[in-house]
Symmetry: C2
Subunit: 228 residues, 2 copies
């Protein structure tokens, strides 16, 4: 039995979309929210949508304890606060998958622009803030929340993963590959999140121009799964 | 008869690769180089490879006068010097297609990292340096020079174009579409080059890990040509 997937910000658009896809894939998910009642409501909604799935809702600090790989799917504006609140919940050995994108929208700027983050990227900021022994991997920046949340949409795109160790990235790749239509690509060390986080505003810029939900596909890669 | 395509830095890897593909497509190309003799040698080599093509080689300052859309395909280290040297060659109404990527390799750093450019991107630096009335469009950052230079490689990837006016970008898109297997995507205004220029080090990072020549494909776009 695979372990549950805790999603911090599981009531938000990206978090809920990922939860839906993992629930459909038969994975147990734990929806976290700042407010335990909102988490419970979202869990109820998701359970109604995927009746057979194992779904719980609870406050973020509790949710973060429910599995070895914790998804952080919150807006950049709330990333720092969330990480501060998780300091007593996260344990050495856990992976934190940071999906945060420092869109300028966080300070009422454009969603086609980003803020400069002192550490270089939101993921690197997360690595600085998590407790000792917790490792940050960055992923899920380019998969659109509306497409995830609409189970009728057939996904066909890549998820770029940044992190220091391939073994850690492989664990996240397994979560990516649990969702049909997504392919995990090893994009490099955590610092490469500086680039990958920028793909979100790029896709937003393209979405505005083409009225689509664009994604990214890396061409030229071997077909074989290289994560084994 | 379509006008000739001048390529500043036409003896370099990217410039020569683009020249080969355009020559194969029946387009007249003008290879520019700092050194007119080297340009002539490269033109001879390209003429041998594509005997029917219309190919000339000349010093950059002369080359830049040979067509309305000028390709700037030089390393970031040489971009500023080249633009200074072109001040008396470029004329109002011309488009300059900047392909420059500010890789940290320019200062002996890693090719998986970039330098910060004061204006935000190499393309915006170019726009600041060109004569009044010359418009910069950014493109061709993600198409690998080795793949372009090997006519046996079947291309199948996107070129992201950044610029202020769609009409200008459409002219560049026409050059993109002259090369079989390349699709032009409107990525946004020139400032979006800040993001698109970062895709090169991202692909270099992926290339190192997978031992491939990776490219980018944007998913979810309509099939129809939207540039008309």
């Amino acid at each position: 039995m695979p372990e549950a997937i805790p999603i911090i910000g599981g009531t938000g658009a990206l978090g809920y979309g990922l939860a839906l896809r993992w629930a459909l894939a038969g994975r147990a998910v734990v929806l976290g929210s700042r407010d335990a009642d909102r988490a419970a409501q979202a869990a109820k909604k998701l359970s109604d949508a995927v009746p057979d799935a194992e779904i719980e809702g609870m406050a973020n600090a509790e949710a973060a304890k429910q599995g070895p790989v914790v998804i952080l799917a919150v807006p950049f504006r709330a990333q720092s606060e969330n990480l501060t609140n998780l300091k007593d919940s996260l344990e050495p050995g856990q992976l934190l998958v940071d999906c945060t994108v420092p869109l300028a929208a966080a300070v009422s700027g454009k969603a086609t622009r980003t803020l400069g983050v002192w550490q270089g990227s939101a993921a690197q900021q997360a690595q600085e803030m998590v407790p000792e022994g917790v490792t940050v991997v960055a992923a899920f920046h380019t998969v659109g929340a509306p497409d995830l949340a609409d189970r009728e949409v057939i996904l066909d795109e890549d998820v770029l993963i940044c992190g220091e160790k391939k073994a850690d990235k492989a664990k996240v790749a397994a979560l990516v590959h649990a969702i049909p239509g997504l392919r995990a690509v090893n994009a490099g060390p955590l610092e490469t999140a500086r680039i990958v986080e920028q793909l979100t505003p790029l896709l937003i810029s393209i979405n505005v121009r083409y009225r689509v939900h664009a994604g990214v596909h890396i061409t030229g890669l071997p077909n074989a799964d290289h994560w084994e």
